[in-house]
């Protein structure tokens, strides 16, 4: 190897200058790495790792999006679960609390009845829960509070009928003008005939069975409208009975039993006096039937009617409100007509679409993974609870009303029988399953996110100890170069001439 000369203007000196500059550049670069903690300020400087950095950054952004979704969804599920357990306890209260309240007086002030109003208010409150402006029980219509306020539901307003009015109308229609539940009673000689007012009438009692013992006979007619005929074929013995089985509008069934007695009070609703002749007995039976029907019409039928009206009301929506009794007059009404948004309150203003309520709020928790946490206030278990609470709240049981206790007992029986059991728990189970799924998804996303972060740190970040070592090494090299260069540059023949 030849060694070229070294001195002022020689190429060696110029090359030394370039070496210095490049070393100094390295120093500045390393210093910047130490300060910022980043390996590179451009993608090019990262070299082949730039692709990894870009991919990881995109993945990180999407994972962080998932995390934000999961955190938000977990909050929503927690809120919904709390609401559901409150609804559960309301439903439980209906099943267990109502019968106990029967023995207290006055019934108008019973806890159960007062708490039905309160319960309905609480249920409405729960179903209108919102999280950051998002209504959790509104399905996809998450920007609207799904349930109308209590006052509007009960009382209506602005020309629209509320639950109370609808219950009252239905009750009138079910009881009929004479209070006998739209049944007609006729008696001729030893025969008594009970028949429905018209075939297919949606109101009142429905005759489904008739039986008798002893000298009494009973038969269901085969024609239409339905009818039942009773005959005193021979004078009955005391204790012989006539039974009429009636279906009520809410689907429940009641049986009127009239017992023949030798001497009983007139106007009894449970028995009839054996007359001197079969025709007398028949007339007594007819009168007793009428009294019994009127009594049942004021209690069992009225309660069933209230419950049915309430169910119909809560089955409607804002767009398709509950059907209304065609009238007035309501007592002689023969059919139901569709309610319209203009004349009837629609209690539910949320998403009324068909299909799974859960799927109305899917939460993306990963690539192709999704957890459904939607709910709609008009799901069947919620409707049933609201209908029960609504029927209780809409009914009045004033102190002076002689039928109040019987009506209350009948309504309580029905509400207890119809109280939702299980439906709300199923929704709660859906949500707790979703909560678990969200937790698992969160763990999964966190783990992946940490991996991706590690990757990014490995690719983009400068290792301080490595940088410091390099810095020291470069500094030493630069110092050594400076010293030798200056020593060589001082060596010139000029000094020795």
């Amino acid at each position: 190897m030849t060694i070229a000369g070294y001195g002022i203007g020689s190429s060696g000196a110029r090359r030394a200058d370039e070496t210095f500059r490049s070393l100094k550049g390295n120093l500045a670069d390393l210093q910047a790495q130490l300060t910022t903690g980043r390996k590179a300020e451009t993608h090019a400087a990262l070299g082949p790792d730039a692709g990894a950095s870009l991919d990881a950054r995109a993945r990180l952004a999407s994972l962080e999006g998932y995390t934000a979704n999961i955190v938000d969804a977990q909050l929503r599920v927690t809120l919904m679960s709390q609401g559901l357990s409150e609804l559960e306890s309301l439903a439980r209260g209906l099943r267990t609390g109502l019968p106990g309240a029967l023995n207290r007086t006055p019934v108008g002030q019973t806890n159960a009845q007062v708490s039905a109003e309160d319960g309905l208010r609480r249920a409405i409150d729960v179903l209108n829960t919102d999280a950051a402006g998002r209504f959790l029980f509104a399905g996809r219509a998450s920007d609207t509070s799904p349930v109308a306020p209590y006052g509007v539901i009960m009382e209506g307003g602005a020309g629209r009928a509320g639950l109370k009015q609808i219950v009252a109308e239905r009750k009138e229609a079910d009881r009929g003008p004479d209070g006998m539940g739209r049944l007609a009673l006729a008696s001729a000689g030893p025969n008594v005939t009970l028949s429905e007012e018209a075939a297919g009438l949606p109101f009142g009692f429905k005759l489904v069975g008739a039986s008798a013992t002893g000298g009494l006979s009973a038969a269901l007619g085969t024609g239409s409208p339905a009818s039942a005929s009773f005959a005193v074929t021979s004078q009955p013995a005391s204790g012989n009975t006539v039974n009429v089985v009636l279906d009520l509008p809410d689907g429940s069934r009641t049986t009127l039993t009239l017992t023949a007695t030798a001497a009983g009070p007139a106007g009894s609703t449970t028995g009839f006096r054996i007359g001197t002749t079969a025709a007398d007995t028949s007339a007594n039976l007819s009168a007793a039937l009428a009294a019994a029907l009127r009594e049942a019409g004021g209690t069992a039928l009225a309660s069933a009617s209230a419950l049915q009206a309430s169910r119909g009301f809560f089955a409607g929506t804002a767009a398709n409100p509950s059907p209304r009794v065609a009238g007035p007059p309501f007592a002689s009404a023969t059919g139901l007509v569709a309610g319209s948004a203009a004349d009837t309150v629609g209690w539910y203003r949320g998403d009324a679409s068909d299909g799974s309520a859960r799927e109305t709020a899917p939460v993306r928790t990963g690539e192709g993974a999704s957890v459904a946490i939607g709910a709609r206030a008009n799901e069947a278990p919620f409707q049933a609870l609201l209908a029960s609470l609504g029927a209780l709240a809409a009914e009045a049981f004033p102190e002076g009303d002689s039928t109040a206790r019987a009506r209350y007992a009948a309504l309580a029986d029905r509400v207890v029988a119809a109280a939702p059991s299980g439906g709300i728990a199923e929704i709660a189970t859906d949500l707790s399953t979703a909560h678990i799924a969200l937790g698992q998804a969160s763990d999964r996303v966190d783990a992946t996110r940490n991996q991706v972060r590690d990757l990014i740190v490995g690719v983009e970040n400068a290792d301080p100890s490595e940088v410091a070592t390099k810095l020291l090494e470069t500094q030493t090299r630069l110092q050594a170069s400076y010293q030798t260069t200056s020593a060589i540059a001082r060596l010139t023949l000029l000094d020795y001439l």
Partner: protein
């Protein structure tokens, strides 16, 4: 004849020669730091008369020059200025995409947009999420606008740089010719030659040249590509017709009527004009680098951004119009309704036969003859389809393109029916579909025209060819639909009666961006022109940055390598031709000694003369 007087004469000539040598040394030492100065050495020879030495003759000072090294140095200089210009431009392009992990870079903004859609899909009715999504979309459009403008500005400044470089080269050529004239008139002037070499050096950074010397001292300069630049006293004139502003579709073309950018024109002394770019006679140096940047690198960078912008707009607004299988008698095929198609929307037909070969034809809608011609690609991959003349005409056009064996008809409305040859069984129609751009927000489908062509009156982006390719420069014009900005609810409501919490549209948009399998035009230089890049939009944006990164890295590496080669050659050249003080000082000592020796001879001769005179006295 010998004698003392001749000794005196010889010593005198020696003294003169030493004096001249001292001159040369002092000149070398004085110019030790001058750029372009080549070391001089004294050329001295024996003076001979009648076969006898009459002393030493100073012939002159000659330059220490290795022609081969000089020639190599000039080539490497051209190469180095080529790589340096490209590395600098690539670094600028790479820096546009922000540092890795930066918040403002294109990939980061696209990530922010998809993240905001994730949030919106989770809470479609939330106003903050809707507003965030719109803001992220707006940032993204703004970033694309900014990047596209930067690329356009870079291209425009490249055009100016070419103009300046060509003007400089032209000036150097005229000066070189003038130097040639002076050197031929006064041969052997080292100073003139040094001056001329300095000009050639400067020229060699602009253009790759080869230089040959003539006997009379004149230089001939030509490019390595064979373009004669200087021949003796004659210099070619170089000129550049810079264009401004350069449109996104402005390209170089050998045909002057289709050329949208400036070109370098060489006019020789006979008046012959040559388009230097078309002839390919400049291959390296700063001018070639700038031309390459203007015509290839920056065009590709712009096309990448345009493709990304077009992909972004189309991904959100493209609605598939599926073909429906039909049959008529023995013939079977497909029907498709083209009523919703706009100019630029494609219709794809897949057929086999006649002859068993499978073909897929892509028709691109146009609404004028000019648009149809523009939509027809030269490589036959797309065929323009003029839909302005009614659907009967459309059927005819498709039938013509498919050839025999197919029946194309327009049974009703905008429906096109393509049937095979039925019983003969030599042809088959295997698929027929179209893609339409959704232009409204409440079409009932989740697609929406969120991004529009802000430079064309907020027209929807359809990839139209009417009035110029819409995709050209789209990145600089992409904007948010003003109706979406005015009503963020449009991000969710895809039809009448759609509920505010319906996640259908946000989820669809998210999937289209992150999981969609789109095809991107090969013009962008990603994936190659014959096998265009396929992947999601997000992936494509990453590939853009990676491509720029890889280009910048390789340009920098190439430049580093070239600078090392240049330094090595320059080192060799300077070792040969540069001044080394130690050498000069050693020479000085030798000259001092020689001067003393010559002087000693004179003294001796004088003493001898004195002695002779004393004898006579």
């Amino acid at each position: 004849m010998g004698g003392i007087s001749s000794s005196i004469e010889l010593a005198m000539s020696g003294l003169r020669a030493t004096q001249a040598g001292l001159d040369v040394v002092s000149q070398n030492v004085a110019n030790a730091g001058s750029v372009g100065y080549t070391r001089r050495v004294l050329v001295a020879g024996e003076r001979v008369a009648d076969g006898r030495s009459m002393g030493v003759d100073v012939v002159g000072a000659s330059r220490m020059l290795d022609i081969m090294v000089q020639r190599q140095l000039r080539l490497e200089q051209a190469g180095a200025s080529f790589t340096a210009a490209k590395a600098s431009a690539h670094t600028s392009l790479d820096r546009m995409f922000d540092r890795p992990g930066g918040e403002g870079g294109l990939p980061a903004l696209l990530n922010a947009f998809t993240s905001s859609l994730q949030g919106l899909a989770n809470s479609p009715s939330s106003y903050p999420h809707r507003a965030t999504t719109l803001a992220a979309a707006s940032d993204l459009a703004g970033s694309l606008n900014g990047l596209a403008r930067q690329v356009a500005d870079l291209r425009q400044s490249t055009e100016s740089a070419i103009g300046a470089a060509v003007a400089q080269a032209d000036g150097l050529l005229q000066e070189l010719a003038a130097f040639n004239v002076r050197i031929v008139a006064a041969p052997g002037s080292a100073a003139l030659e040094d001056g001329r070499d300095a000009l050639v050096d400067r020229l060699s950074t602009l253009i790759d040249i080869k230089v040959t010397g003539a006997a009379n001292g004149a230089l001939t300069v030509a490019t390595t590509g064979g373009l004669q630049l200087v021949d003796g006293a004659r210099a070619t004139r170089l000129s550049f017709d810079a264009r401004s502003p350069l449109g996104p579709d402005a390209r170089y073309d050998a045909d002057p009527t289709r050329r949208g950018v400036g070109t370098v024109t060489a006019v020789d002394t006979a008046g012959n004009k040559v388009d230097v770019i078309a002839s390919g006679t400049i291959r390296s140096g700063a001018i070639a680098a700038q031309l390459d940047l203007r015509d290839r690198v920056l065009v590709a960078a712009g096309a990448q951004l345009d493709e990304l912008a077009a992909g972004l707009a189309a991904a959100l607004s493209d609605q598939a119009v599926p073909g429906v299988p039909v049959s008529a008698g023995a013939a079977s095929g497909f029907e498709v309704d083209l009523a919703s198609l706009s100019a630029g929307n494609p219709v794809t037909v897949s057929v086999t036969g006649p002859g068993g070969a499978a073909r897929t034809l892509t028709f691109v809608s146009a609404t004028s003859a000019a648009g149809q011609a523009a939509a027809t690609s030269t490589d036959g991959r797309t065929i323009g389809l003029d839909i302005s003349g009614g659907y009967g005409s459309v059927a005819t056009q498709i039938g013509t393109a498919l050839g025999s064996g197919f029946t194309v008809s327009n049974p009703a409305g905008a429906t096109i029916r393509i049937l095979d040859d039925g019983g003969a069984g030599t042809t088959d129609v295997t698929a027929l579909s179209a893609t339409a751009t959704v232009t409204g927000f409440a079409s009932g489908g989740p697609e929406l025209p969120l991004f529009v062509d802000g430079g064309r009156g907020d027209a929807p982006f359809t990839g139209s060819f009417e009035g110029g390719r819409q995709v050209a420069g789209f990145a600089s014009r992409i904007a948010l639909h003003p109706a979406a900005l005015a009503d963020p609810a449009k991000l969710v409501a895809y039809g009448p009666g759609v509920l505010a919490g319906d996640a259908t549209r946000p989820l669809f948009l998210l999937d289209r961006l992150t999981a969609g399998d789109r095809s991107f035009s090969g013009e962008a230089g990603i994936g190659g022109s014959t096998s265009p890049y396929r992947g999601s939009l997000v992936a494509f944006s990453q590939r853009i940055v990676e491509t720029q990164e890889a280009d910048a890295s390789s340009a920098a590496t190439l430049d580093d390598g070239q600078q090392i080669v240049l330094n090595a050659v320059r080192g060799r050249f300077e070792d040969e031709s540069g001044v080394n003080i130690d050498t000069e000082l050693t020479l000085l000592i030798q000259l001092q000694t020689a001067y003393g020796a010559n002087a000693r001879i004179l003294t001796a001769a004088k003493e001898m003369m004195d002695l002779l005179l004393r004898i006579g006295a």
